[in-house]
Every structure is written in C-alpha cells, then in structure tokens.
C-alpha cells in the first residue's frame, strides 16, 4: 500500500515540478504579494485611527458625544478584554468606556497620542479617567501575514488538488488507474502528500521572505506554527478532494471551489478582523477551517500561544480533515458515470 501511494506521489511531484509555468506561478504569486506588501507597509502603518467603544456601556451614552463626530476615525464596538489587548498591542489607538467615563491608551503609541488629544479637546475637563495599557506594538502587517500565509495555503490546496483530480478524471487517467490494484484511499493519500509538500514548501518560503523583508512579529514556537500549517493544509486538501470526488467538468469544479474559497477569504479574517462584524457573521465564520487556522496562527505569532493554547483549533482542523476525507473517499469515482 505504501509503495503504491509513493508511486503515485512521486509521479505527481515530477509532473508538477516539471510544469515550469505552473510551478513558477505557484511560487511567484505569493512572493509578489509579499513584495507588494513590503512596498506598501515598510514606510509606516495606516493613517486612519481606530477607537474601540467598549460594548454595553457604549450603547447608552455614546451617540451624543461630539468626539464620535470626528472624521477619519473608525469607532468599533468591542468587548473590554479584547479592546484593552488591542490597545496594548497598538492595533487600536484608544478604547473608550462611556459608561465608566474612562479610556485606555498605550503611552508609546503615536496614534494613541493624537486620538487622546482629539478626545480631550471635544470633552469637558475632568470628564475622563485615563488608564494606561502597555505592550509591544502589533502592526497591521504583523496581523495580516498569517492571513496571507493561510490564504496561499487555501488556494494552493483547494484549486491545486481539485482541478488536477477533475482533469485526471476527464482525460481518462483515473480510468486507467482504476484497472490497477490502486485503491481510492491510496490515490487520495498520494494527492494529499504531494500538495502538502508543495504548500508547506511555499509557506516556509513566504514566511522566510516576510521575516526578512518585513521583520514580522513571531512570539511563539515555530514548531507549533508548522503544525498549524500542516493541519490546515491537510484539512483544505481534503475539502478539495471531497469537492472533486465526482465532478467531471473543470468549469463546474471551478465554480464549486470558488463557492468555498470566496466566503473563506472574506469571512475567515484574512484581510481584516471580524471583531466588529455582526454576531451571526462571526458565528458563520467558525464553519470555515481557515478561520481556526488563522486564529491559531495569530495566537502563536502575535501573542506567543503554545500548542496547548491552540489545541481547540488543531482539533477542529483534524476533525474537518476526518469529515471531508470520509466524504471524499465515499463519493470518489474514478470515472464519470
């Protein structure tokens, strides 16, 4: 069985590595993305200010205050704990609790300094209690990089496997394999391993490039992050295999894969946090494995979380893998009916 898996794995790797155009695109596209981000973000962070309105208390007193009329400020309702963490890490400039008449600021944050000046200028003397919240800054690019790594894994695993399986089925290569002792589970294992190797290689390359070019934050264990990347890749490949289990048209496969990738890209927190989004959107985002992969990756990279801390996310990724591999193996067809 192992020999059959490695026979298919080896042939698939050779096919991929010699297809220079595809290989080049798979490596070059993410690197170009990183280079673009380096150009955009290396000169400084965003210019817009972000202020958390600590929920519940904010609901009653906030609407009337003139500070909320200030232009170029984003006011985001948020839970107290999360708001204070973000202020400490420079992800927010200020957190205000209208009910308690207090605000939190990181004294080292330039954005916080300006936001505080504007708050005071639009408030009465003695209206606010000032509370410090200290911590190292987390820039947007620090926050974004795990999203980019995750997005690259998602596209590579879903499209890279889904399209290949459909193409093999359409051109009759799978039919030829069916006449051999190879079993579906062995074929699927070979596809997972092949794509996993590529996804991890490109992710390591990207991670290295971002560390080099952008000096991104890495507080936790590289090994834990590696494990998250491996489980996320396997989980996403298994979704790709399940979606391609019976499809015989590349157009349909593309549509199905887009149906999964676009919601994941928008709702899994690749580009922006869903902290300010409606509750139902946040709950919906939890059905996507990418959400859990990014939560784990950010906890490790930004807050130094250990394996034990991200265990729930790892278990979800492993569970997703088991579910979709079972679906894929059950539904798999070597050829069209």
């Amino acid at each position: 069985m192992i020999q059959r898996i490695f026979a298919i794995l080896h042939a698939r790797n050779l096919e991929f590595l010699r297809d220079r155009a595809t290989l080049g695109w798979n490596v070059a596209m993410p690197l170009l993305l990183v280079a673009g981000m380096a150009a955009i973000f290396s000169g400084g962070d965003r210019s817009e200010y972000k202020v958390a309105l600590i929920q519940a208390e904010a609901q009653a007193a906030a609407p009337a205050h003139p500070f909320l009329e200030t232009r170029y400020f984003d006011f985001i309702p948020m839970e107290r704990g999360e708001a204070l963490d973000r202020v400490a890490n420079h992800q927010l400039d200020l957190a205000i609790d209208f009910g308690a008449g207090a605000y939190w600021i990181n004294p080292e944050s330039p954005g916080g300094y300006f936001a505080e000046r504007l708050l005071q200028s639009s408030s009465k003397d003695g209206e606010w209690i000032r509370e410090p919240a200290s911590g190292d800054p987390i820039s947007y690019v620090d926050w974004l990089i795990p999203g980019i790594l995750g997005m690259n894994i998602m596209f590579s695993c879903l499209f890279g496997v889904g399209y290949v399986v459909v193409r093999y089925r359409k051109n009759g290569f799978l039919k030829r394999l069916k006449a051999t002792p190879l079993r579906p589970v062995e074929f699927m294992a070979a596809q997972i391993l092949s794509r996993l190797m590529l996804a991890i290689f490109v992710t390591l390359l990207l991670y290295g490039a971002t560390r080099l070019l952008l000096d991104i934050r890495m507080e936790g264990s590289g090994l834990a992050l590696f494990l998250v990347a491996v489980l996320a890749s396997i989980s996403l490949v298994s979704i790709g295999l399940a979606m391609a289990a019976r499809v015989t048209s590349e157009e349909l496969a593309g549509g199905l894969l887009n149906l999964v990738t676009w919601p994941m890209m928008l709702l899994s927190g690749v580009w922006f946090s869903l902290a300010g989004a409606p509750q139902w959107v946040q709950q919906l985002s939890n059905i996507f494995p990418l959400t859990h992969a990014l939560t784990a990756a950010r906890d490790i990279m930004l807050y130094g979380a250990g394996l034990g801390d991200v265990l729930p996310q790892l278990l979800i990724l492993a569970g997703t893998t088991a579910v979709f591999l079972t679906i894929g193996a059950t539904m798999f067809r070597w050829r069209s009916a």
């Binding site: 020999q3 080896h10 698939r12 051109n171 009759g172 030829r176 002792p181 190879l182 070597w334």
Partner: protein, 299 residues
C-alpha cells in the same frame, strides 16, 4: 474416457449493461480459454468496448457476472490482468520510463522492466516526455504499461486504431511474441485482418448481442461452401443471362460467390467476359463480418 475440458481462465455469464433506456449489452455469455488469443469483434456501437470494460472492472455491469479462474473477478484479477485501453491519457511532463516505473510499483508481481521496454521497442524513447510520442509510440507505451505486472491475461482494446500499416504489422508481431510466452489475450478490434491474423477464437457482437462465436477457420467453413471470384467492374458491365451465382458490386469490383468455380468461369467465358484480371479467393473473416452485421452505414 475423454479428457476433461480445461477450466476457462475467464467466464462471462449473462452480462447486461443498460445506459438508461439503451441496452448496450444484452445478456451475453462466453468463455476465454487459457493461453488463447480471444477476439471480440463487432461494428462501432456493438457493445464490445463496454463488455471488455466491464470485464476489466472499470465499468459496472447492470447484471451478470465475470469469473476469473472460477471466482468473481476482484483484487486478484486486478493484480493478474494487463489492460491496454483504446485511448488513455498519461501524465504530462513524465518520461516513458517514469510512467512505466509508476505503474510497475502498483503491482505485487512485476515483470522485468528492461524486458518490457525491449519487448515494446521503447529503448530509444525511455527519456522522452509522454507528450512527444507519436501515435504508434504511444500505443507501444500503453502496451508496455499493460505488461508491467507480467500479466496472466492481457486485454487489448482496439490497439492498432490510428496506426499506419507498417506500425500495425509491427504491433501484430509484438503481440505474437507476447502470446508465445503463454499469455491469454483478449483482443477487441474492428480490423478483421487483425483478428484473422492473431485470434484463435472470436466472438462477433452486434447491437449488444453475440451473433456467432468460434475459431475463425471453423466459422468460415460453417458459413461458406463457396469461393469468391473477383473481376474489375469495367470487365463485366452486365452479368451474363441466367447466371446461377449471386454477385455484388463493391469498391470497383464484381464479386461472384460461387460454390462451383469451374461452372462460373465457363459461363463467364462463354459470355465473352475478359478473364485476364480474374482473381479467385476464399472467403475471409471480413466477408463473414459484413454478412452477419450488415453492409449499411451505422447511424
């Protein structure tokens, strides 16, 4: 006491395949003897490829069964069978040798790869990308893939379709060499010359049914007592009056099917027909095929 008839290596029983309302295979049964070259013949759409794909295990039957060495064909059959499909895609960017190596590793019992490469005349193509093979070279590679497990039974589905005459002859020689090593071969073809050259036994299918089966020579003897006289149409514009043998005009020739050649020649001579270009030949498998399956074009 008569010797017991040896058990067939392959037995097909009451095989049916329906595609919706279309009955592609209609309850056919036949045996394939060990070490024989068995031909499955029929016009396009006769159901022969469907039949052979059911036997190979790549298409499920609607009903009926396939027995390999007396047991339902399953994992052991897949280890022992070599299959050459009529068309099969191969992976791009992979060389001939790498392709053979990949399939080679899928089996427990394996042939010597060097021997397979040599048998299929792939020695000079080992490092060539699959995409850069000609039609004949590609068919030889597909045959090589079918031989990597040193199969006990080899399926060849229209293996010479699209080959030029020289490549086809070379392919036949190759199949003869393989057969000489005691392999059982199941050949699907619509080239009658190919079947007559290679097959010990044939089945002719039409519209999903078997219409005749047996050894080619026996079938010809059973169906025809006559021989065929051929004359160019230009030498025989009209048949002599009261000519007692049936005749057909086909491809610029007049074919006279006569059970008494002397009588036919005498009558033609008396009618003044020039006989310098007269050709006398026995019935061929193609004649039987056309007589049994019809001469008109299929829709």
């Amino acid at each position: 006491m008569a010797a017991a008839k040896p058990a067939p290596i392959l037995a097909v029983r009451d095989l049916v395949k329906n595609y919706g309302p279309v009955r592609a295979v209609r309850g056919i049964s036949f045996d394939v003897r060990r070490d024989c070259c068995f031909g499955l013949l029929g016009p396009n759409g006769a159901g022969k490829t469907t039949t052979v794909e059911i036997i190979e295990g790549v298409t499920p039957a609607t009903s009926g069964e396939v027995l390999y060495q007396g047991k339902p064909a399953g994992a052991a059959f897949r280890q022992d069978a070599g299959v050459q499909f009529q068309t099969a895609a191969l992976q791009d960017f992979i060389t001939v040798r790498e392709t053979l190596e990949m399939f080679h590793r899928l089996y427990r019992h394996r042939a010597d790869l060097g021997q397979v490469i040599s048998d299929c005349a792939l020695d000079k193509l080992e490092k060539r990308d699959n995409r850069k093979l000609s039609g004949g070279q590609r068919q030889r590679l597909l045959l090589g893939i079918a031989l990597v497990n040193d199969p006990k039974i080899l399926f060849l589905d229209e293996p010479t379709t699209g080959m030029d005459p020289q490549a086809r002859r070379n392919f036949w020689e190759l199949v003869e060499r393989i057969r000489a090593r005691g392999k059982t071969i199941v050949l699907t073809t619509h080239y009658m010359e190919e079947a007559q050259t290679l097959c010990d036994e044939i089945v002719i299918m039409n519209e999903g049914e078997i219409i005749t089966q047996g050894a080619p020579e026996q079938l010809l003897k059973a169906h025809y007592k006559a021989i065929i006289l051929e004359l160019p149409e230009s030498d025989l514009a009209e048949m002599p009056p009261e000519f007692p043998f049936p005749s057909y005009r086909r491809n610029g020739l007049v074919e006279i099917h006569a059970d008494d050649a002397n009588e036919a020649i005498t009558r033609l001579s008396r009618a003044g027909a020039p006989l310098g270009r007269l050709n006398i030949r026995p019935y061929r498998l193609e004649d039987l095929f056309l007589d049994l399956t019809g001469k008109e074009l299929r829709p």
